[in-house]
Subunit: 335 residues, 2 copies
DNA sequence: CTGAAAGCGCTAACAG
DNA sequence: CTGTTAGCGCTTTCAG
């Protein structure tokens, strides 16, 4: 049997309230008895029961991070940020992987609430917010742009500006026929990146060619397949702005297999700046997001909302994207 | 206030025991009243309190996966495996990242136990088992070879054989001066891979040159730095077996920066076969581990131990590594 | 089929 | 400084 507060109380001959006080370092316990209690607790191998405590305290000191794809190196970076900061504040974090499956997300959200997590940080699998987050009663912060009247705080990169920057860079480097190979079509981030792309095209008087705008999923495989299709259909662009880096990897792969010279025959820019995008063999030009920081901020906002549940104010943090020029695009100088 | 079982009992005019029975689908409730209860529960937005339930039931239906580096793409693959399978069985999983920090691991293990997780799957940050896992009372399964008298189940690849295979491959491909650039020196996996390397060297009458055996950490940066040091010290090998793939990436990077032709001037083989090791620009020859499967098996063993806590038997699963020949080594044919 | 009551391990008034 | 007591929300005998 597990050793409880009562066992140690009995052993020492005090009431278990006293033991509780001692263990929790609360005032009003004689120094000597406290010491005895601590010693005995250690000796008996006492381990506080957070479940019981949670039941009375009404908080669990655990939060959840729900993400769509832990296999995309973008998310582990974020996860590291939230986890590290959370644990600094004494919180554990559940890491839930929805696999972009809205049903799975639903199930997680339900379980998380039943387990009484104190708050949730989520990158939704889909963006029809109300559908999914409707039943959540704990504080939530999203990695997503959110409708203006939303009751949730959020933090994200300015995706439209990112898309704009990426496309502008390719235009200025002299690419003429620029495709957008995107990810999940019903994702805000994706849409906004595409909007930025279109905006840049317009700004520079390029015409928007819908046959060059193709969405799929945020996977390497998807990038590979749609690029291959593009090449084999004869509708070959000389530049592609990919919805994210792993898609860009797929594009790169297809290009290589078809003997295309990157960056001369084909320029590529990605989004995220995941680890290994900077390997010399890859050298992917991309739009960087401050992943770790995003995780960090998200927890801080969340923890703050948890603490001040009463007077909550929704915060929206929009971060600046940054273009990282590497070798999958021609530089201006070479033009 | 949260709606509880009592609220809905009061509303309908039954005892809350009955409500409990109905909600949990237990026998002995009149069909009609059950329906009423279910309806009311939904209407009132009742959400079972898993904390309270856990307190009485003595289990939480949550397990933990503690890993050293979520940023190494090897681990997310495993994580996906455990998470998916666990959730199929109705378990949530805490994902904890120790960052190879044994103190952090300690803290997590403590918190996890206090939160009464039902079991723990862990790749220890260090390998002096007894030190770390001593206080754990719940079932544990390790991703690590374990002493023969250990009380824990474990599952892992045959690292020695992997190291052997890797080195043998390089020898047969004609490389003459093969270095081992390893990861954490006090890691079993690392040591075993090194043993396999030595074994192959001996088998083929190569002499073992300790100046060619260098450990560091399981990071790209570490691989990059030690390779660079090797090159700049003039002690240039013509082959390196890296402790894992991300190290190999670093080696690759250094090689490239120093104008070495891979695979002709330098052959490289990694370990793990992480995603993106197969990109055409990388094409890393490596030793594959069945990552997802390892995660899956780990949960299955764990869940089984949880169920049969009484008659537990320790299981040791040793999986076979597989050499994946790609382009960072010469093939036999080209020799 | 249903209700009463005990208790899971702990915290927090409230008395002393 | 310390003990008594009442719950937290739920499951589970044990009676009826």
């Amino acid at each position: 049997m597990e050793v409880t507060i009562k066992d140690i109380a009995k052993k020492i001959g005090v009431s278990y309230a006293t033991v509780s006080r001692a263990l929790n370092d609360r005032a009003g316990v004689n120094a000597e008895t406290k010491e005895m209690i601590m010693a005995e607790a250690k000796k008996m191998g006492y381990q506080p029961n957070a479940i019981a405590r949670g039941l009375v305290m009404k908080h669990t000191h655990t939060i959840a991070l729900v993400i769509p794809d832990i296999t995309n190196p973008f998310f582990p970076e974020i996860a590291r940020g939230v986890e590290e900061i959370a644990s600094e504040y004494g919180y554990n974090t559940f890491l839930c992987n929805t696999n972009w499956d809205i049903k799975k997300e639903q199930i997680y959200l339900k379980a998380l609430q039943e387990k009484r997590v104190d708050g949730i940080i989520i990158k939704p699998a889909s963006d029809s917010e109300e559908d999914n987050l409707g039943h959540i009663t704990v504080p939530v912060v999203l990695f997503n742009k959110i409708l203006n009247d939303s009751k949730y705080s959020c933090i994200e990169i300015d995706n439209e500006r990112g898309g704009f920057l990426a496309t502008k860079h390719m235009i200025e480097a002299g690419y003429k026929k620029i495709a957008f190979i995107g990810g999940k079509p019903d994702s805000f981030s994706n849409t906004q990146r595409m909007e930025g792309y279109k905006l840049a095209l317009q700004r520079y008087k390029y015409k928007i060619d819908e046959s060059l705008i193709i969405n799929g999923s945020f996977k390497t495989q998807s990038g590979y397949e749609t690029m291959t299709r593009l090449i084999e259909s004869g509708n070959l662009p000389d530049g592609v702005f990919a919805g994210n880096d792993v898609i860009a990897f797929g594009v790169l792969q297809s290009a290589k297999e078809h003997g295309l010279d990157v960056p001369n025959d084909l320029g590529i820019v990605g989004f995220d700046d995941i680890p290994h995008a900077d390997l010399p063999q890859i050298q992917l030009t991309t739009i960087a997001q401050p992943k770790y920081l995003m995780g960090k901020y998200a927890v801080e906002i969340l923890l703050n909302e948890i603490k001040n549940k009463a007077k909550k104010e929704v915060k929206r943090i929009i971060l600046d994207p940054e273009l990282i020029e590497r070798k999958t695009t021609r530089g201006l100088q070479s033009w």
